[in-house]
Every structure is written in C-alpha cells, then in structure tokens.
Amino acid sequence: MQPILQIEHLSKEYVLTRDSFEQGGVRAGLARKWAALRRFGAPNFPDTNSEEHFWALKDVSFNVNEGDVVGIIGRNGAGKSTLLKIVSRITDPTEGRVVVRARMASLLEVGTGFHPELTGRENIFLNGAILGMRKAEIVAQFDEIVAFAELEQFLDTPVKHYSSGMHVRLGFAVAAHLNREILIVDEVLAVGDMAFQKKCLGKMSEVSRVGRTVLFVSHNMAAVENLCRRGIVINGGMIAFEGTAKEAVREYLGRVSGSRDSTGHIVDLSEASDRRFAHVPLLKRLEFFTEDNLPLASDLQIGARLQVRVHFDLPELTSDFNVGLGFDNSYGQRVFTAHSQFQPGRAAQARVGPQVYTCDIPSLTLTPGEYSLRVWLEINNTEADLINDAVRIRVIESDYYGTGKVPWNGAFVLKHRWWNESTKYPASRK
C-alpha cells in the first residue's frame, strides 16, 4: 500500500534580510530595494550582501501510513513548524516534495480567522469554512460542536466578549469536528485550562483510534507518549531520530542533556551584567548537573534532580557566610529559595579562598516554565555579591504522575494521594 503522506527530501531555505537602510545608507538601501523589486517573487536570483541564508529544513524524508499517529518533537526552532507549514501548503518548500493521498486538515492555531465582532455562532461557520468544511457539514455537526465547546449560552455573544479560554474551546471544538483522513496538529493543546486540555487529548486519541492519520507536534512529552505510536525527533532542520513515540521522547530528552558542548552546563559569572557587589565580585561560576552527575545545560523534566555547584571566593577568613539560590518564575515571583545556612549540622569552621558549594535538589517539582536563577553570597550578614538572572532553567512537561496528565497549573507538583470510603488509603504505600 502506498503511504498516505510521503515526504521526500524536503528542504526549506529562508532568506533573512536585514533592513536595507541599516547599512550603507539610503542610496545603497534604495539600490537593494530596486533589486528586490525587479525580482519580485523569484527567490533564485543572485542575492545581495545584506541577506543571510538559513535552512530551516534540510533534506527531510519520511513516510506516514494510513492510521499512523506520529509525534514530531524537537526544540524551538528545530524546524517542526516549518515542516508542518509545508505539509499544510501554507508555504512552498525550496526543494523536495510532499505527496498527500487523502483529504487533510491542519490545525496550526486554534480559531484561525475568528472575527471578534462576529458571534460564536457566526464564527463557527466562518472558521469551519476556513478550515475547509462545507456549509452542509457544519450545519450537520453544529449542535455537537456547540456541546463540545460548552458555550450554549454564549452562542449569540460577539467573540470579543469571550475569555481566552472560551475562545480556545470554540476554536478546538470546530477543528475537532473536521472529518478528514489526515489531521495535522501543532501545539494547540498548550493553551486552555486543564479540564479542556484533557477533553482535547481525549478527542485526539478518539480520532487516532478510529484509524485516522495524525501528525502531532508538541512540547508536551506526556501527550506525545500517550497519543502517538511513532515519534520523530527533529534537530537543526534534520531528522535526528525515528522510532516509536517512547523511544523518540527518550532520545529527545537525552539529546537535550547530551547535545550541548562540553562546557554547556557551566555558567561563567565574570561577565554577569545585573550584579551588585560590595567590594569585589566574589561569585565565579555555576555548574549544573542532573541525575547521575550528568551535566545539564537547559531543560529539566518536572521532578528531575538538579544540582547546582557554586564556585566563589572568600576574601578573608570567616565562618559566617551564606550562599543563596533563588528561583523566580516568569512572573517574577520567588517560588523557592535555598540557603546554604539552612543545612543542618553544617561545619561552622572558618574558611578562606576559593570554595565550591553544591546545592542538591533531589526532585525539582516546579511546574513547567522558565525560571530565572538569582545567586548571592552573604558575608557577616551583609550582601557581598549578588547576581540577578544569572541563568535560566527551563522545566519541561513530564509524565510526573504516571497518568499521562501533565501538571500545568499552579507553581508546584507535590506527591499526594486521593481516596474515598470505598478505596481505602493504601497502607502499604504510606
């Protein structure tokens, strides 16, 4: 049987043009504008110097068979979105081709084409038509769409009065009722509240169970592992790994820790800009490690081990000093602080010269997001050196609870248990 989706040697080159007037003055700028005007729409014309070439995708080939549910994972900028855009026909490839042997629907964004002035009802029709549904199809599924979105009461309210959650619900509801053999979904589950995310995931697995073909891009590793059978890791515009979804996720996470250069986990603080110190800078550098002393450069799964090694100098002999690490979330709120002085039984002997203190967090149970690390050193109860935003740590989704449900809301994930009168508290696991 022929594959339903055949991707052959696909490449996409972007030409990044700096604003011509930035360099060479107005005259050179005009000359370049003129050159651009003359070759409108013809990308293969010799390029001027102000352009940079960038291959977002380079020689990517794979086949998707009917009924396959394929997860595509990779870091931001790895080329996932470009791949989906080409397969969705939004942009042309520079080289290679894609053969699509069925009707396809792509959902790169929830609620594309919603108009704020139109009501929910009107937007269902408009959005459905934009996604490629016939009017008759929309009419036939209208009630189901409304029920799925849970927006019965607000059907005749202009969408501009909707909350963002309602917006997403309506958008996904329309898209979920597209009857197409191939479904392409990009990261749309990253929005919306937990309850609705769960509902969307349910709908997605329903879609894949009835034998439809799905191409799914996500940062949500738990969702990929749960929904997809196959997984493809894209890195630097090329396929880095192809296998089962589980293998791909493992490969991807390993790659994030492993692909960095030998010093990627070391952060030199000598150049730090946002810094306050009393006399001389004392904090030298930070080193990051995860489980089994593996060096860590950026992403950390929920609940993984984090070890921060702080290198600093003590200018004079003292026993009264304290190293602090503060984790701030993206809203600038401090979510967690670690002080070396909190360590019980710490040897209070006086020290001097270069020091290395390691803070070991066996399980960093923060919810996914980016955390900014502040590091400081106090000597004799006064601030000797402090660096704001010394480094960013990204916590990424993982199947922390082992249920495929990704913790998303709140600041922390914490070990906890639920029971009721019929399911007694499991004494053995107390």
């Binding site: 409108f40 939004i90 081709r97 002035e117 139109l118 408009l126 490629g132 053999e181």
Partner: protein
C-alpha cells in the same frame, strides 16, 4: 477513499496557472468571506448600511453644488444630480474596493500564515462584499430617477456587462496591489493618493464630451472611464462612444487576468514575508 485524492506539494517557480478546480472546490469559502466582510463592515455603527448610500449621496450633492452650480459644468443630457450619481455609483465602488482589497492580505495575516486556501479569495472577498453597497447606491439612483421623472430605456440590459467590467477591473487592480502590499507596504500610502487623482481622469464630474476628440480614446485606457460611461448609457440612456467603452472593457479583462497571474506568482512567498 484516499486514492481518489492526491496532491503533490513541490517548489513553484515563475508564473503559475490559475487552479480553477481548486477555486471551485472552495467556492463556499468565498461566499463566507464576502458574508463576513458585509457583516462586520457596519457593526457598531449608528447608521449601519446607510453609510453605503450616504457617501455617494453627499458626494453627489457637493459635486452638483460646486461643479454644476458654481463652475458651470453641464451634464450631457440628464439632470446633473442623476448624471453625477450614475458616475459616482461605480466610482465609489471602485475606490472603496481597491483600497480595501489592496489592504486585505496584510489585514488578514493570520489567515495567510496559519491556514491554506486559495488566497485570491481574500482580495476577491473584499471586492465582492462591496457589491452590496453598489446595489444600494443603484436603488438610490432609481429613486432619484423617479423624482426627476427620467425614463428608463432598453439599454438597461447592458448594465450587467458594465457591472461585470467594474468587478473585473477592481479585482484586477486589487489583486495586484494586495500582492505587492505584502512585500512593499508603500502600497498603503500610494493607494489613497492614486484614488484621489483617479477621479479627475475618469469622467465622473464632467461628461466625456468635454474632452477633446483625440484624447477621448486615451481616456479609454482607464477601465473606469468605460464603466462610468457604460453606467450612464445603460441607466440614463446617455449616448456614449463605443470605441472608448470597448477599449475600457478590454482593459478590464486584461487587468483581471494579469492581476490573477501576478498574484499567483507572488502568492507562494506570502506566508514567508507577510
């Protein structure tokens, strides 16, 4: 099931044919886009669709006062208000539709960069939505004809031809400008200016009679010349020079086809540079 359907996505270079089959497949979407534009155009306005009529009506009153009463411009038969409105109806359609469609791709960036459908529908939808305004203006013109007891002649059967010519010319210009607007936002500044100038090289205010004979045929190169003359010929029965109208009709068709081709050629880069 899947075997009946096959699409190959590959790089496109140079001029592209117009994919009529695909346009037919998506025809309902064009209707939806027209419907959307009509729905939202006068949302949250006090006067609503009245604006469609108000604009040409007020222009007619001002033109009658300034050009007819003060400057002494005469119509070529019918009362000047009828003469002016019959010209203003297609001209207003043209100017509004060109300015809206030339901006349509840029103001619908989300549609261009997130979903695929025949992109020609975006500028064409803007043009289509304004046909309603044209219709309303024509109703106003009919009422005014009743007021002036000006007879309707059999030439009215020509009206659809000239409406079609207006749509073709407007779409052609709109398609071309909208495509250029994606890479060169200069279009946004040039269009209002060009439209302002355009009314002077189109016989809206003055009759074509006032143009010296040898220049008249040159006026025909402006497609709206023929459309304005044709509207007057069809609705008011004013005798009009067929060579000029014929030339304009041909130019309208050429503009439309070239607009489509230029749009198709530039289309594949829209998502990358918009």
């Amino acid at each position: 099931m899947p075997s009946s359907f096959e699409v190959t996505i590959r790089p496109h270079r140079g001029w592209q044919p117009i994919d009529l089959r695909e346009i037919w497949l998506y025809r309902e979407l064009l209707a939806f886009l027209v419907w959307r534009d009509i729905k939202i155009r006068y949302r949250q306005t006090l006067l609503g669709a009245l604006w469609a009529v108000l604009q040409p009506l007020i222009a007619m009153l001002i033109f009658t006062f300034i050009f007819n009463r003060l400057a002494g411009v005469k119509s070529d038969g019918p009362p000047y208000p009828l003469f002016a409105l019959a010209g203003l109806a297609p001209w207003t359609f043209f100017s509004t539709a060109v300015s809206q469609s030339s901006n349509s791709l840029v103001s619908n960036q989300q549609l261009v960069s997130k979903i695929y459908f025949p992109r020609v529908f975006i500028p064409l939808g803007s043009v289509g939505a304004l046909l309603l305004d044209l219709g309303l203006t024509l109703i106003l013109l009919a009422l005014l004809m009743v007021h002036y007891r000006w007879p309707v002649s059999l030439t009215l059967f020509w009206l659809p031809i000239f409406i079609a010519a207006a749509v073709l010319a407007t779409s052609g210009v709109g398609l071309t400008l909208s495509a250029f607007n994606v890479s060169f936002r200069d279009v946004k500044y040039a269009v209002p200016f060009l439209i302002q100038m355009g009314i002077f090289v189109t016989p809206v205010i003055y009759p074509i009679r006032d143009i010296p004979g040898s220049w008249r045929i040159l006026m025909g190169l402006n497609p709206m010349t023929g459309v304005v003359l044709g509207f007057r010929y069809a609705i008011l029965g004013t005798p009009s020079p067929w060579p000029v109208m014929g030339l304009s009709l041909a130019v309208s068709v050429i503009l439309f086809i070239s607009g489509l081709l230029i749009f198709r050629r530039m289309e594949r880069r829209f998502a990358d540079i918009i």
